[in-house]
Symmetry: D2
Subunit: 105 residues, 4 copies
């Protein structure tokens, strides 16, 4: 993403607020793919094209802007993810939360 | 994320539409961190805690649900991202789009 | 919203991109309320407090930022909504789309 | 929106989670219109077409799904909005918050 951006001289557009708006745009496109599907058929319907290919493309776009935002903020996304997962594991002990949706996980 | 989910028996909550809503929730929290910051000071302000830590946490949450959705849909997110970046490189040749924001990238 | 904003001298924060990020934040909070509910029980569960009250609050916040954005952009939101509904009625004739989810409505 | 929906027999698609995903899709389209604009030029650029017209259309779509969600949940959106604004006025006294962005408003 950094090379892709630099080759096009697009870094000047990539302040954090603009990148988050771009991320929102891609999340919106992902949401549109699934919005009217019956909840219990979504996995199956996304098992074949064209939905499978399009879901992959929109998820790729979400990841691209997330990675780009991490680069602009000089945040190690993989490290942040591992740390957050460890924190969540402590906040929600398996023994206490088994089978129950926490209000926020 | 798969192990974390299975240990808590939370897979039953993780249909695609629910996971996208959870992703939206985390993107919303990320947006809230930056919403009132002056656009040209956001990078600097996110260079130190507490904003730096919190931005990393929210980005980690976005990634966690994105990765989990990829798992549920059996989509190789890294492969999808590389393919999409190649497609974008073809759609937006550096020579033609240098310095110009495309309507959609 | 305009009076509320002016009394606090907050208009300086309300450029369109910031307001859209604030809108995203509120949509995220709304999504979090419903994310783990079974799709076919959501209406019933939102029929009583605390979910009923909280859903109303988050929807009110979404509306507040949408109305504020309309004010900043000098857009007549009610007129835009009526016009868009007329356009949608033409694009999706009831006779042709009865019972079928259009990809985009 | 209720008449529009009933004429097309679309009410069956309009459970709360699906409607929130549709709302997210429209917010994403609104975000895309503004994402790469310089923050301090956005109001002016949205003062003329095509951006003016498109912003109005996307905001109309956001409102349409918000109103439809309120109908499905039997929530009086106008009443909820007035109540929330009164609460916010109490939580953020003008004298205490003048000119300062609250972390959450």
């Amino acid at each position: 993403m950094r090379a892709f951006t630099d080759e096009r001289d697009w870094a000047k557009f990539h302040d954090p607020k603009s990148l988050i708006l771009a991320l929102v745009g891609e999340v919106g496109e992902l949401a549109e793919l699934f919005q009217w599907l019956p909840a219990d058929e979504a996995v199956q319907l996304a098992g074949t094209d064209p939905l499978r290919r399009r879901a992959g493309e929109e998820m790729a776009d979400v990841l691209a802007y997330l990675v780009r935002l991490a680069d602009v903020l000089d945040i190690d996304l993989a490290e942040a993810a591992m740390k957050k997962l460890e924190n969540s594991a402590e906040r929600f002990p398996a023994a206490d939360f088994r089978g129950e949706a926490p209000e926020k996980a």
